[in-house]
Amino acid sequence: MSREIAFVFNGNKMNMAIEDHWTLLHLIREELGYTGTKEGCGSGECGACTVIVDGNAVNSCLYLAAEIDGKELMTIEGLASPDGTLHPIQKAFVENGGIQCGFCSPGMIISAKALLDENPNANEEEIKEAIAGNLCRCTGYVQIVDSIKSVSGHEAQEPHVVAFRSEEGDRGD
C-alpha cells in the first residue's frame, strides 16, 4: 500500500509517497538516491545503515519508512555544511585515521553524532558503548575512538607511535 508522508530530511521538508513495506534504508538509498548510508548486513547487526531519527541513532535497515512520518531524519549527507565544511566529527575522523575502507564510516560518524548531541562530554566508555553496534573490520576501532574523543570535550591521548631507534639515520635524498 502507498501512503503520503511528510518529514524533515537533513533540514529540508519533504512530502512524498512511499510504500508500506519500504525500509527507511530503502527510502534513503533507492528512492532519494542518497548512498552515503550503507547496508552492511540488513539485520541490525553491523550499524552501517545508522541514521538519526528525532535525535536517536537507529538502524535504518530495520526501521519502516512509514514511521518517519512527522519526524526529522538525518543522514551522513546532512552533516557537513552546504559549503562543504566538514562537521567537527567528520574532520576528527579524517585527521585521526578513523577511516580506512570507509564502509562503516558514515554509520560510525552518525552514531558519534547522536552520542555527542546528547552527551557532549562523553568519556571513552560512553563512546565505545555508543559505537558498539557499528562494526569495523579495518581499524580495530582504536583510531575511531580517538577521533570521537578528540571532539568530545575529553582530550585524545597522545599518539602511541614513537620511533625508538634509527639505524642509518639520514637516508632519502
Binding site: 510504500e19 541490525g44 550499524g47 545508522t50 541513532a57 537507529v58 514511521e67 552514531s111 552520542l115
Partner: protein
C-alpha cells in the same frame, strides 16, 4: 522486502479489531527489530502489520506510589528503561539486562514487550522481570487478564497469548525492604551478544542484613523458556547469604537447568556457568542490598 500493508491504530481496541478483521494474515509489530528481520528472512509473511507503536500509553517505566508496583509498558523501548533513573536506582537487575541488549540503535527502537512476546530462551528482558515476580497484563477481545510472567512463556517462540491478544504491560510487585538484585549476560564479546547464558539473582534480607528473607534466581538459555530455579531459591531462604550458601544454590540451579548444546555454547559449560554466575550475581545482589540499606534506598 515482501509487500505488506502497515496499519497504525491509536488504541488497543482499534488494534484488536484490526487483527480480528485480518486474522492470520496480520501480525502485530512494535519496534520491529525482530519482526522485520523475520520478514526479510521469509520466516514471517504477513499481509498486514498492525503497529502498536502509536497506541497512547506510558513511554517510560513508572512507580505506583500507593501500591509500590512498578509498571513497565510493553511498548517502552529498552533505551527508555535503561535511562530511567527509577530503574537504575531500584531495579538494577533490569538495568543490567536492558543496557546490554543489542546496540544503542536497537535499544532506541526495540521494545520490552517485543522482547517478551518473542519468547526466545535468550530474552534478556525476560529474566529480570521474572526474577522480580512480574505479571503480564494482556488485553484482548475478551478484555483484560493478567498472568505471572513466568507462566507466560510456554516454549521456544511460544507465549501465552490468544489470537489477537496484546501484551500491554508488566507489573512488578512492591519490593521487600533490603532487596538487591543483579543480572549478567554471559557471552564471548562485550557487546552485540545474544547470551550464551543469562543469570538473574534477587535477594531480600532480614533486618540482620545477612539472612535471606526471599530469593529469586532466574536463568535464560538454560531451558526451552526462561526459568526460575525454584529449588535453589528455596535453599537460600532462611540461610545466611555468603559465598558458600550462594555456591550451593548455584549448584542446585545448575541441576535444575535443562541446558543443551548449541552453536552458542555447550551444555556442560552452560551448567557450570549457572553455578558460577548464580554465586557471583548473588554476591552482587547482596552488596547492592547492603548499599541500598546504608543510603536508605530500600524500597517502600
Amino acid at each position: 522486502m515482501r509487500k505488506f500493508t502497515y496499519l497504525v491504530p491509536k488504541t488497543l481496541d482499534e488494534a484488536i479489531s484490526l487483527y480480528q478483521s485480518y486474522g492470520e494474515r496480520a501480525k502485530y509489530i512494535a519496534g520491529g527489530t525482530d519482526v522485520l528481520v523475520k520478514i526479510k528472512e521469509g520466516k514471517l509473511a504477513p499481509d498486514y502489520l498492525i503497529s502498536l507503536k502509536h497506541i497512547i500509553s506510558q513511554d517510560r517505566p513508572f512507580l505506583n506510589h500507593e501500591t509500590g508496583e512498578l509498571y513497565v509498558g510493553a511498548f517502552v523501548t529498552h533505551r527508555m528503561i535503561e535511562t530511567s533513573p527509577l530503574v537504575q536506582a531500584h531495579y538494577p537487575i533490569l538495568y543490567d539486562a536492558v543496557k546490554n541488549i543489542g546496540s544503542v540503535q536497537i535499544r532506541n527502537v526495540a521494545t520490552i514487550g517485543g522482547n517478551l512476546v518473542n519468547a526466545v530462551p535468550s530474552a534478556d528482558g525476560a529474566i529480570p522481570l521474572i526474577t522480580l515476580d512480574g505479571k503480564a497484563n494482556i488485553y484482548g477481545a475478551k478484555g483484560q487478564r493478567s498472568v505471572d510472567l513466568l507462566r507466560f512463556f510456554l516454549g521456544p517462540g511460544q507465549c501465552d497469548l490468544e489470537r489477537g491478544e496484546i501484551l500491554t504491560e508488566v507489573v512488578v510487585p512492591r519490593l521487600l525492604p533490603r532487596t538487591g538484585s543483579a543480572y549478567i549476560k554471559h557471552g564471548r564479546r562485550e557487546a552485540m551478544e545474544l547470551p550464551m547464558l543469562g543469570v538473574g539473582v534477587l535477594l531480600s534480607l532480614e533486618a540482620d542484613m545477612e539472612t535471606c528473607a526471599k530469593a529469586g534466581i532466574s536463568l535464560g538459555v538454560a531451558a526451552p523458556t526462561p526459568i526460575r530455579a525454584l529449588q535453589a531459591e528455596k535453599h537460600l531462604v532462611g540461610k545466611t547469604i555468603n559465598e558458600e550458601t550462594l555456591a550451593e544454590a548455584g549448584k542446585i540451579a545448575g541441576e535444575e537447568s535443562k541446558v543443551r548444546d548449541s552453536i552458542r555454547g555447550v551444555a556442560w559449560y552452560r551448567r557450570e556457568m549457572v553455578a558460577v554466575l548464580v554465586t557471583r550475581m548473588g554476591m552482587k545482589a547482596l552488596e547492592r542490598a547492603s548499599r541500598n540499606a546504608e543510603v536508605g534506598m530500600g524500597n517502600k
